[in-house]
Amino acid sequence: MESQAFQKVYKKLTNITKATVSLKASDVGYDEMAIVHGRLGQVVKILGDEVILQIFSGTEGIPTNAEVAFLGRPPQLKVSEQLAGRFFNAYGDPIDGGPSVDGETRDIGSPSVNPVRRMQPSHLIATGIAGIDLNNTLVTGQKIPFFADPDQPYNQVMANVALRAQADKIILGGMGLSNDDYLYFKNVFDNAGALDRIVSFVNTTDDPPVERLLVPDMALTAAEYFAVDKNEKVLVLLTDMTLFADALSIVSNRMDQIPSKDSMPGSLYSDLARIYEKAVQFPSGGSITIIAVTTLSGGDITHAIPDNTGYITEGQLFLRRDTDIGKVIVDPFRSLSRLKQLVIGKQTRNDHPQVMNAAIRLYADAANAKTKLENGFDLTDYDERTLDFAKAYSEQILAIDLNIDTQKMLDVSWNLFRTHFHQAEVGLKKEFMDLYWEEK
């Protein structure tokens, strides 16, 4: 860790809590970093000559006479092409045994992009997964999380998406990642021959939780370097943002802030938005797309973390196990990509929007039929057909193990319509019926 010749060293802490220490000090800047007893801390409050520091790795064992040296700067990252292919911890220090990175020093948590300097996202990202490409199409510059219970294979799906997305750089921000998942990502990227396109900032379950708070900003500072300075298409993977938010609540509780819903800090919305809003399409061609994971507890999306996330991101991809087919699917009801209308029917075949909606409507009819069945009622012929349709649709469209192109997804959908329904039941614009109803 660094030290500076002119820095003033303090040796008397006045208060110590589980996450913070306070001391009397002068000429300290807000947000400034300090080394406290060999650990990194950051200024979170200044009242007169009293300075309160948040200690990222926790305060266990810090004595009242600990040495405190202020660094005179906020958290920073050195950026250059040398970042590519490397693995770092939450502070941006290498953890892969490689040399430290040379490059320009940048403050993390930089200001926002001026909205008038953005461009409307317009490049489709193809993933081969129909539950995404057909129903919830992704676009560069978008921010979207997977909502999934902890036992869903979200990291696997995310790794697949990342590798198929044709990004120039993939930046992994791991928060509370299990060591196994960390090695999994490393392996998949390695096997795909993509390691030189990957930059990782990882906080594993072995690391102190509060350190995670630095991970998204580190990842996004690197992303901004590649997207702005190098005009690259950058994909940022943030997993798991629920653990990030948990770390926020630890800090705010320790600072005696009044919690709002679900013991989360009242600023949760702004804290998350600051991160997700880094997703951007620049006119120069560079872009930052953020795909995140928000784990749910028992599928509850009204909890403050998924709820605030949903209000910030441009949709969400909801993973659920479909017991009828025994596979994980992208749930078409709760999932949404809000940017899809910028590309569907424009960069894809023009029947895409209507086919997508009709199929989901019919799938909803199947859900109603299922309820009827569970309530012990007879099913009509139409009900029976929707149930058959739903099963086939789950299998051939919604399952996450697919890898086909959109054209094929649309053809499969028409085939399902034709097999299970009459034209009027599908209810599409006549021009499309005329074109696609008959099998070609």
């Binding site: 947000d31 906020p74 909205p115 600051r274 809003e277 009204t302 441009e314 009622f377 139409y382």
Partner: protein
């Protein structure tokens, strides 16, 4: 609060964007100050004063600020600059012109002029020497994007004045002198095209505020037909995330019969603002033949921009709306989302360690919201003409729960309620407005009823009520069917249910992304409601409930094709003809 010498102070504490300043003289609540940091000055607003400590919320990041840094108090509250050249501008929450800022990233302490000081405007005088005038009276006008932009007696002028001189018609810059007025004491004061006004104070330069009575057409069937909003009315759109609040607001702002549209993107996504930047310059305003952007001003304080400026942004937008209303224009003001503004209040209230109300929101949330909504409205100006601000805000209820404080407070303040339902959005029944739970209090106003009868027809109100009843009865029938099973209810339960589905699919549901269906003029709405009701009131022959659904699905399909076709075009007429055949075949 203007002072000869500016009060000065020094930073004494910093907690996120709340800074405590020790002052050496008088300060006022809500006064603006600047914190000197290296080369830049950061703007902040006083929100609490305790002894010699002023608590200020900083409109920027406070990174790097230190105790002891100098602060200068400006002697005025947060103000906007009013004058020609506001339309088509993209401002941040403090009215900085975003296009004038250099670089890709917003720089801290970068404040830009909202107006173009060099541009020449063709001024036409409108007042005569000797006229007695007061604040808000028109002295002349310039043409702003083809819209008459009145140059008024500044709103800060108190009492009455007489016009001493007005410049003759010609080209002037906004800062040029256009008139000299003499006050009651005989002092001369000069007037330019620019004035300033504090955003948290309502502009009251009008004669009276009668109840609104005119329908404001939005082109959205679910609103105009079932729960109309008025010119000068207020409404709010609560809904869980992803249910279509923003899409609905954008649709209204594109289509509504307004002269001026002001959109406050308050703590929401930057990409949604970019969508407006991208689309509005391309879209035609059907009434003026110009582009939509020419009558629009955008206040963009997106979620990643400083939180304190987010709170200011809605006030900035409202003040601009009041300015244009004073010119006798119909202003439509949209704020997305007012919950983010409430959250900004909450963050600050928590930092101030105030006693929290429900869900940690400030205790006076309701009062703040009501106060804001009451600034909208229909007004009669001093010259007898009228102007209006129609205000529609979205609300983002935490967890989708409509009992949370922001929704509850807004319900008390707004007269129209357009509740978006998760279930409707999930089944892609857009716009997801729950037509049964939603309401427009204006429908109860006799003056609104009278207006509708005169403008639309004397049977209109009855038809609307009939349609609403059918929706309700359909819902009840559906519940019975769900409990008793398809076979367990008489066949007319199925008919009742399918009649409500007919109204749902043909009237309520509307494709915001289809170039024809997105906007339905009132005459077409009336035509379609007539058509749907005539189907619903016919008596058909059915053998078994499956035939009911089968038949109505075909009818719905046909009517939907009509919705997608140009009104009264050949295709439209053909679909209608086919439909009539279909109906005839099934008649009793």
């Amino acid at each position: 609060m203007e002072r000869r010498d500016k009060t000065k102070g020094k930073i004494a504490g910093i907690i996120a964007n709340l800074v405590i300043v020790e002052v050496d003289g008088p300060v006022a609540q809500n006064e603006i100050c600047f914190i000197q940091h290296d080369e830049t000055a950061l703007m902040a607003e006083v929100i609490k004063i305790m002894g010699r400590n002023a608590y200020v919320q900083v409109f920027e990041s406070t990174r790097g600020l230190k105790v002891g840094m100098p602060v200068v108090f400006e002697g005025h509250m947060l103000e906007v600059t009013l004058g020609p050249g506001i339309l088509s501008r993209n401002y941040d929450g403090l009215q900085n012109d975003l296009d004038k800022m250099d670089g890709v990233f917003l720089k801290r302490g970068d404040y830009t002029d909202p107006l173009n000081r060099e541009k020449l405007w063709d001024f036409k005088p409108d007042a005569n020497i000797g006229d007695t005038v007061q604040a808000g009276d028109w002295l002349g006008e310039v043409s702003e994007n083809g819209m008459p932009h009145k140059i008024m007696v500044p709103f800060k002028f108190q009492g009455s004045y007489s016009v001493k001189s007005v410049v003759s018609a010609g080209s002037y810059k906004v800062d040029d002198l256009v008139a000299v007025l003499t006050d009651a004491k005989g002092n001369d004061v000069s007037v330019t095209m620019v004035q300033k006004w504090p955003v948290k104070v309502a502009i009251r330069a009008f004669a009276q505020k009668p109840r609104p009575f005119k329908l404001l057409e939005t082109g959205i069937r679910c609103i105009d037909t079932l729960n109309p909003i008025t010119e000068g009315g207020t409404g709010f759109i609560p809904g869980p995330f992803g249910t279509g609040k923003t899409v609905l607001q954008h649709a209204i702002s594109k289509q509504a019969e307004a002269d001026i549209v002001i959109i406050a993107a308050c703590g929401e996504r930057a990409n949604e603002v970019v969508e407006i930047f991208t689309e509005f310059p391309e879209l035609d305003d059907p009434r003026t033949g110009k582009k939509l952007i020419e009558r629009t001003t955008i206040i963009a304080n997106t979620s990643n921009m400083p939180v304190a400026a987010r709170e200011a942004s809605v006030y900035t937008a409202m003040t601009l709306a009041e300015y244009y209303r004073s010119m006798g224009l119909r202003v439509l003001l949209m704020a997305d989302s007012t919950s983010r503004w409430a959250q900004a209040l909450r963050e600050m209230s928590n930092r101030l360690e105030e006693l929290p109300g429900p869900d940690a929101f400030p205790m006076d949330l309701s009062a703040i919201v009501s106060n804001f909504y009451s600034r909208a409205g229909y007004v009669k100006l001093n010259n007898g003409l009228s102007g209006s601000i129609t205000f529609i805000g979205t609300v983002s209820p935490a967890g989708g729960n409509l009992k949370e404080p922001v929704t509850e407070s807004t319900r008390k303040a707004a007269r129209c309620f357009y509740g978006l339902s998760q279930a409707r959005a999930d089944s892609k029944r857009y716009p997801a407005i729950d037509a049964i739970d939603s309401y427009s209090k204006y429908l109860e106003y006799p003056e609104v009823q009278e207006y509708l009868v005169k403008q639309v027809g004397d049977k209109w109100l009855e038809q609307v009520i009939e349609a609403k009843d059918m929706l309700l009865r359909g819902k009840e029938a559906q519940e019975q069917i769900n409990i008793l099973g398809d076979d367990g209810v008489p066949i007319d339960f199925h008919e009742r249910y399918w009649k409500s589905e007919l109204i749902d699919f043909v009237i309520l549901q509307q494709d915001a992304f289809d170039s024809i269906d997105c906007s339905t003029p009132l005459d077409r709405q009336q035509y379609m409601l007539n058509k749907v009701l005539s189907v619903a009131n016919s008596s058909f022959r059915f053998n078994g409930f499956e035939q009911v659904s089968d038949f109505f699905k075909r009818v719905i399909n046909q009517l939907k094709q009509m919705n997608y076709s140009q009104f009264q075009s050949d295709t439209f007429v053909k679909y209608e003809g086919d439909l009539d055949e279909m109906l005839k075949a099934q008649l009793n």
